[in-house]
């Protein structure tokens, strides 16, 4: 236990916080964090669906959980059921074998829901394109709010895409 505590203290806080004036990336991340907090307010829950990717996009989504990006600290959490989700984060291309599973996941997600397609394949089918086995882009199967290009997109780009989707979200607190 002593070793663990010592190591935690030695590691310190890695989450990228206050920017250095000359550090473009840090500025970007901090701006992102502020905007996400402004829009999300309390929490955003995300259900990830790999609809047929080569798994590189999954690696970058997983990286959002590391201490540098600390997505949980922004109030954004990955959840284990579409019933608990505000947003679907979908990687593609959508294989025809995943078409029904993706549609069912979409249907199981309560309204109002957001869909973010991740990666070149999710955006346009990528190198796999459309075929007997691939439906291509995510929007060929379910409605998509935001598509994030990249092969794979960096964690920062994915955060940016999530933010873009959230900031487009129609206001739900208007009372008639």
């Amino acid at each position: 236990m002593y070793q663990i505590i010592k190591q935690i203290l030695k590691t310190g806080i890695k989450t990228e916080g206050p920017p250095q004036a000359d550090d473009a990336l840090r500025v970007e991340i901090q701006n992102l964090q502020e905007q996400i907090l402004r829009h999300v307010g309390r929490a955003l829950t995300i259900r990830c669906v790999d609809a047929g990717s080569c798994n590189a996009c999954e690696l970058e989504i997983q990286a959002l959980n590391n201490a540098y990006y600390n997505i949980g600290g922004l109030g954004i959490n990955f959840v284990a059921s579409p019933r608990h989700a505000d947003m679907l984060l979908v990687t593609g291309p959508v294989s025809r074998h995943m078409e029904i599973a993706l549609k069912r996941t979409y249907d199981a997600t309560p309204d109002p829901k957001l869909v973010v397609a991740v990666g070149d394949c999710g955006c346009n089918g990528g190198i796999f394109a459309e075929s007997y086995a691939s439906c291509g882009r995510v929007s060929n199967v379910i409605p998509v709010d935001v598509a994030i290009p990249g092969c794979p997109p960096t964690p920062t780009a994915i955060l940016q895409g999530i933010l873009t989707a959230v900031s487009r979200r129609p206001s739900t607190d208007t009372t008639p």
């Binding site: 935690i8 999954e58 294989s95 074998h97 007997y132």
Partner: protein, 499 residues
């Protein structure tokens, strides 16, 4: 690396497989091809490895009777490869126990075979709900848990059918194929140059291994020898890929037994390494950096120094975290004896790669048939005899340290010179093989060339083909809540086998 390729008849096909097996050899891959355009019917190919090298067999099949003798009684791992060959090419293994479909779900009819040349890859059928005859376990108190294809975490899709009593697993049956996106058919619409990009996206976490294997295959058919500097840099990239995957797994394996500390620590180290990759080579996962003929990146003295500096920190941290994992009673309680594959079972079923080495299967391509630059590095293979989660964790720890040693050695004497050799034209109807020890195990690319540098047929083979069926055995008698940590300790690729 010694590779023999020969055309055999059905009797020789089986007897050579038997001989290889008796001599301690194993099956690396099995695939089929459509040779109608060459007036040669169909063919089934098997790549075997023995102590002396690789033996690649081609068995021509007639149009009237596209069938070949089953070899899954010799190599159990062949069963799914044979079922996939039946789905994709309509070539059947006579005498096999299991004739259920494997890759095909309900997106195309059973009488359609996508890898036949007369099938247009753009043809689309209506997708229906798949009906798959799972093996059901019956008896008092037995019930089933279906899991997937959409999983709880950020992982790839697949279906697991558990038959259990209480919390104990009686049987696990995997149903994969969900990420089948027509990779092999796609290759046939590309030329050798365009294929490199697709090869790097067969399994994103092994992009360097696949790109290198693809490059080897192209280089072998075109008679290209990459310059020494390119080969050295390829090995640096491959070992960096091994390190970042092992670090990620070690963190996730901590997380799976409720040691969030482990996840936090290892994923900081992994992110540091990915950022270094991005700074030095221009891509976090090193995609498209290995190309046929050489590499598409370089490393200067400053970059070399940055790697060495990071390794000083990384080695210190990994050794410290290893002590913490080793001495953590809660972690060891979950790891030890969990998901055990005994060396005997591993040998019988053909467990390969990292998981194989953790079950006493002393096999590492970098040590057995080292290609340049490994031939002068004296790679120290890491093995373990326990075959449980703890052993697979221990092998990862040791391999991270070994990979750092290898990179240091390579950087110590990095050859100067060109980064790329020009790649000539490939002869038609040639077979090129590429074979690389990726972080998960050996990756094979079998390339059959067509006219004008086109790809006639390409079969990429992931070690997960061999290892997925063994996972079904590894979980027997363990409890369902241990499945995530057992599954993670193998960390097999779905996309690499679904193709």
């Amino acid at each position: 690396m010694p590779i023999w390729h020969g055309t055999v008849d059905a009797i020789q096909f089986r007897s050579l497989c038997e001989q290889a097996r008796h001599g301690g050899g194993k099956l690396v891959a099995l695939w089929g091809s459509d040779e109608l355009a060459r007036n040669a019917g169909y063919a089934v190919h098997a790549a075997l490895v023995t102590a002396t090298g690789m033996l690649c067999l081609t068995l021509p099949l007639s149009v009237e009777r596209p069938a070949y003798p089953d070899i899954s009684d010799i190599f159990p791992g062949a069963a799914r490869m044979q079922r996939a060959t039946a789905d994709l090419l309509g070539l059947h293994a006579t005498g096999a126990d299991d004739h259920r479909k494997w890759i095909r779900h309900a997106s195309w009819p059973g009488n359609v075979h996508p890898l036949r040349k007369n099938f247009d890859g753009k043809t689309v059928f209506s997708t229906e709900v798949d009906a798959y005859p799972f093996v059901s376990v019956t008896g008092d108190g037995v019930h089933e848990i279906p899991v997937g294809p959409v999983h709880a975490g950020t992982i790839e899709p697949g279906h697991f059918r558990f038959s259990i009593i209480g919390d104990r697993v009686l049987r696990l049956e995997e149903r994969l194929g969900y990420t089948h996106k027509g990779v092999e058919k796609r290759f046939e619409s590309l030329n050798l140059e365009q294929g490199a990009k697709l090869a790097g996206r067969i399994s994103g976490d092994s992009t360097v291994a696949y790109a290198w294997a693809y490059a080897q295959a192209v280089e072998s058919v075109t008679g290209t020898t990459p310059p020494p500097r390119a080969l050295a840099l390829r090995a640096v990239l491959l070992e960096l890929e091994r390190i970042h995957n092992h670090l990620g797994d070690l963190g996730a394996l901590g997380n799976d037994v409720a040691l969030a500390f482990g996840f936090a620590q290892f994923w900081i180290l992994k992110e540091d390494l990915l950022r270094l990759n991005s700074d030095l080579f221009g891509h976090r996962y090193l995609m498209d950096k290995v190309t046929p003929g050489g590499v598409a990146c370089d490393l200067d003295d400053q970059g070399r120094e940055r790697i060495l500096r990071m390794f000083r920190h990384l080695e210190h941290e990994v050794r410290l975290l290893k002590d913490i994992y080793d001495e953590h009673a809660g972690v060891q309680d979950r790891y030890l004896t969990t998901g055990r594959v005994s060396p005997d079972l591993a040998a019988e079923l053909g467990l390969t790669g990292l998981s194989g080495r953790a079950s006493g299967q002393a096999w590492d391509l970098r040590a057995e048939f080292p290609c340049a630059p490994y031939d002068r590095l004296d790679v120290r293979m890491v093995t373990h005899l326990n075959g449980d989660v703890a052993a697979r964790v221990a092998v990862r720890f040791e391999e991270v340290l070994e990979s750092m040693r290898l990179i240091r050695l390579i950087l110590d004497q990095l050859p100067a010179g060109e980064l790329r050799a020009s790649v000539g034209a490939a002869p038609e109807n040639a077979l090129g093989l590429g074979w690389v020890e990726g972080w998960r195990g050996e990756v094979l690319i079998a390339l059959h060339t067509g006219k004008d540098n086109e790809i006639h047929r390409l079969h990429p083979h992931d070690p997960s083909w061999q290892n997925w069926p063994v996972l079904e055995h590894a979980v027997i008698r363990d409890v369902v809540p241990d499945f995530p940590v057992i599954n993670k300790s193998f960390n097999l690729s779905y996309t690499g086998v679904d193709l």
